[in-house]
């Protein structure tokens, strides 16, 4: 599907999704502004903007970070993942407004370049309580910028899924920087058990969801398969649902074994688009369909149907009675393998 970057199309769900994002952001800003103007009316407009958008960005980041593990734990949430990109870009815009106003407010119209000032106006790099926290926010904003600007499928296609994925894993680094930015910055002065509590709670939720998911996936990776003359015993045929797959780890690679039309086929589990788990996909119109954005592959050769050109590795299977065996050696991507009939 590399031919068509527009595969992730606009459709009516996506529009609803975007509407919810925009309205929620508006709701946040309006609530924050009204409460501040009514109960703390001596605020300045700049501070109001800086605080409203900074806190909005960090809340959105939390929501973004729980989507991944939620989808791994319950595939019904997958449609949220499908358009996470817009959520990411919107969060970046909120962070940019916060960072931009802060840079202007605190560093512009001075005797040095504002960016140089971020790094040099406070030189207490050796202290925790006096640490130049704005530097951390600035670095995080740079990472978010790189991620937002490469989020389009154009970059995905040109950077290769692996590089792209690694780039986007930096969101965890950005999250760490932002947490440090807030705890070493605003929380040193605007200390409130409630706001500190919100961020600690957020961290606990994000961390526990990720840990639960990791344990679950490790179970698949740790499962030992019995070996017999170069073949690995994987499961009984009845353990796989029709038009669906089961995922096994052989030779440190995850493999999806699909069952369809009284046939079995095995392909590498990792989608060429963004690395989605093909084994959680479904056979639709004779094609393995990725659960994340719907890229398709033919089960017998791991190739996307023309005109698309994606290819994944295939594996050889063997049946003894109702027991499924796999040859752990992968074939080259796109190699035709005769499906195992039963």
């Amino acid at each position: 599907m590399g031919l068509d970057y527009q595969l992730v199309l606009w459709n009516k769900h996506k529009k609803t999704y975007d509407k919810i994002i925009v309205l929620s952001m508006l709701l946040y800003i309006i609530l924050f502004a009204v409460v501040t103007l009514v109960f703390n009316s001596e605020t300045s407009i700049e501070t109001l903007i800086i605080r409203a958008f900074g806190t909005l960005a960090i809340i959105m980041l939390h929501i973004i970070l729980v989507i991944g593990p939620l989808c791994r734990l319950n595939s019904r949430f997958l449609p949220i993942l499908y358009n996470r990109r817009h959520l990411g870009v919107s969060m970046f815009i909120a962070a940019l407004i916060h960072g931009g106003f802060s840079i202007f407010q605190f560093h512009a119209l001075g005797d040095v370049n504002p960016i140089y000032s971020i790094f040099t106006s406070n030189m207490d790099y050796g202290s925790l309580i006096n640490f130049p926290f704005q530097v951390l926010g600035f670095l995080a904003l740079l990472i978010l910028f790189v991620m937002a600007s490469t989020s389009h499928d154009f970059f995905l296609a040109n950077l290769s899924a692996k590089v792209w994925k690694r780039l986007h894993m930096m969101v965890y680094f950005a999250y760490t920087l932002i947490i440090a930015h807030v705890f070493l910055g605003a929380f040193q002065q605007e200390t409130s058990p409630f706001t500190i509590g919100v961020l600690i709670l957020g961290f606990i939720v994000i961390a526990s969801l990720h840990i639960t998911t990791a344990f679950k996936e490790r179970k698949i990776d740790r499962a030992k398969n019995e070996e017999k003359e170069g073949w690995l015993k994987v499961c009984n045929i009845s353990e796989i649902d029709e038009d669906r797959a089961k995922i096994f780890t052989v030779d440190n690679e995850r493999v999806a074994i699909f069952k369809y039309d009284r046939k079995l086929s095995a392909i590498h589990n990792v989608c060429k688009h963004q690395g989605g788990p093909l084994g959680e996909g479904k056979i639709i119109d004779g094609c393995i369909t990725c659960p994340w954005h719907g890229y398709q592959y033919l089960p017998s050769n791991g190739q996307s149907p023309p005109p698309f050109t994606e290819k994944v590795s295939t594996y050889e299977l063997k049946l003894e009675g109702t027991t499924v065996y796999i040859n752990p050696k992968a074939f080259d991507e796109g190699t035709e393998v005769t499906p195992c009939k039963y």
């Binding site: 199309l9 409460v35 300045s44 595939s75 949430f77 997958l78 406070n122 919100v198 959680e280």
Partner: protein
């Protein structure tokens, strides 16, 4: 993973199943609840702001005696025989001096001369400052030299407080002090805004001290590392009508570990 018979594919019309739809709805509603709740938590948790004022959009014209001792001020008679010394500031994070240069080229010594200045007022807690944004708005009214304010020595003192930049503290920014504002205060003072020590005593009475070196000259770079941190400062305090001036040796400033109580 929970068993899920439904399978949503974005490009297949109506592939979104009943359970998926319900899960999505639940997620959207939870997110909106989280968003609204956090907006309330974050907005209500802000500490009260003080009622300092910056008249960004309205200009005021003041007339009085110019003096530079060592920071440029205008001594304005606010009531019969009552004077207020209004601290002069430049645009942004800069000193007023560049905006006085033009006039100073024509009239070499402005000290004691009567000037009229139009700019944006900044005021809080009895102190007034003015931001000059245009050197055309500084005009000479009278070249006759008038006596400036007297300075009387009060005593040698050791004070605890925080060095602030008066422009932000007295009105431009909120909060204009402490860690959040520190970088900005460093920029301001480095740019020529006079450094001020703000103190608050146990009865919540605040005092403000313009800081100079021991000889009474301006200081800026030497105190940058101490700005926005609770500090203990030793020096000779002088009273200059409505302001205090404190002569200090910046090397003797001690950062203390207490939390700042200035307001």
């Amino acid at each position: 993973m929970k068993k899920n018979e439904e399978f949503y594919v974005s490009y297949i019309e109506d592939s979104i199943g009943k359970h998926t739809k319900r899960a999505l709805k639940r997620f959207a509603i939870s997110s909106i609840v989280v968003i609204a709740a956090s907006a309330l938590v974050f907005s209500f948790s802000q500490k009260p702001f003080n009622n300092s004022t910056f008249e960004l959009t309205s200009a005021t014209k003041i007339t009085g005696t110019f003096h530079e001792n060592p920071y440029p001020m205008l001594r304005v008679e606010v009531a019969k025989k009552t004077f207020k010394n209004i601290l002069l500031l430049g645009f942004g994070k800069s000193s007023a001096n560049p905006f006085l240069d033009k006039l100073q080229n024509e009239v070499p010594d402005l000290n004691g001369k009567t000037l009229s200045i139009e700019g944006n007022l900044i005021y809080y807690n009895g102190k007034t400052l003015i931001q000059i944004t245009d050197d055309e708005k500084v005009t000479l009214v009278n070249t006759k030299k008038v006596k400036g304010p007297e300075k009387e020595t009060v005593s040698k003192m050791t004070l605890q407080g925080e060095i602030i930049d008066p422009k932000c503290y007295f009105g431009v920014m909120k909060p204009g002090k402490g860690k959040i504002h520190r970088s900005c205060a460093v920029r301001c003072i480095s740019g020529g805004i006079p450094p001020v020590l703000a103190t608050t005593d146990n009865n919540n009475i605040s005092e403000y001290y313009l800081l100079t070196d021991l000889k009474g000259h301006r200081i800026s770079d030497a105190i940058l590392p101490f700005i926005g941190k609770p500090s203990e400062i030793k020096g000779i305090v002088e009273k200059m009508e409505d302001w205090y001036v404190m002569r200090i040796n910046p090397q003797e400033i001690k950062v203390i570990s207490e939390t700042s109580n200035i307001y």
